[in-house]
Subunit: 147 residues, 2 copies
DNA sequence: TTTAGTGCAAACACTTTGCAAAGTA
DNA sequence: TACTTTGCAAAGTGTTTGCACTAAA
């Protein structure tokens, strides 16, 4: 589980470049980071690298199945290693905290959607918005009390 | 359930304008449309209306609790009437089709997240990505067959 | 050497802003 | 009339593209 990535590139005729390595490292280190964050990280180690390279590389790495992305709300997509276990994201609307959950948390939903709608859920991209435990304590929350 | 919206505006000191009515009508008619689609719809009926007005109006209507938005993947946010029953979105990665489901489809998930993580799910914003029945038929799908 | 990858700058899509003119109350 | 809302045009984000140069194989 060390440098298989460069084999993955070469195997498909792509070249191994420092930029690609840096991007992959940044994705690994940051975990669900946005392209901009990845850029910042890479830029720190190699000032010359351009944003467009970040985007192009992310696209390539995703295509190769090395990384994936999810959408955590408004902003930019978030990238993480595909090798990492799939996980469900819990995003708190109040504090913005992102929690990762084992995919089986969604199992009942997945099963229900499959059986009732023939829909095959992509669990790795499942993001649930709401209010986390801490924020619910702090303020009653929109779901508990209504008008 | 007819023109309560104009009362909602006036009650808060906002003015009732044709633009606002048109935007609300477009949101109602189109259902989970992007700002651009709403713009197109409004523009058809009143050529003079500007995009910026669409954005400003959507923001206002959302703030007033008349409409809400969700993110259905990459693109622009999607707006729909808040008055409409909450629903879960199923988005097919292949054909892009969006299916609306009654929120109780997610009930087991909601309960599990609440009990196990103290997380209060915002069901109305829940979007599930995956492959729909038709597309699964057409092509094996990434979940069924692997390498 | 050959061909793929990169930096750069310009182009893009989407959204926001300032301001003067127009419209609601 | 007084003050909100709009249209317009320009400025901002975040992302993509064309092209000549650089570098991997």
């Amino acid at each position: 589980m060390s440098q298989t990535w460069d084999a993955a590139l070469r195997a498909r005729g792509y070249r191994v470049t420092p930029q690609r390595q840096l991007v992959l490292e940044a994705v690994t280190k940051l975990d669900h980071a946005s392209p901009e964050e990845i850029f910042a990280e890479v830029h720190q180690k190699a000032t010359g690298v351009n944003v467009s390279t970040i985007y192009r590389t992310l696209e390539l790495l995703e295509q190769l199945g090395l990384v994936t992305h999810t959408h955590l709300g408004h902003g930019a997509p978030r990238y993480h290693l595909a090798a990492e276990a799939q996980h469900v994201h819990l995003v708190c609307r109040d504090c913005g905290r992102v929690t990762e959950l084992a995919p089986d948390a969604a199992q009942p939903l997945v099963t229900a959607l499959d059986e009732e709608h023939g829909f095959e859920t992509d669990v790795g991209h499942l993001t649930v918005f709401g209010t986390c435990r801490d924020c619910r304590r702090t303020r009653p929350g929109p779901g508990a009390t209504s008008a």
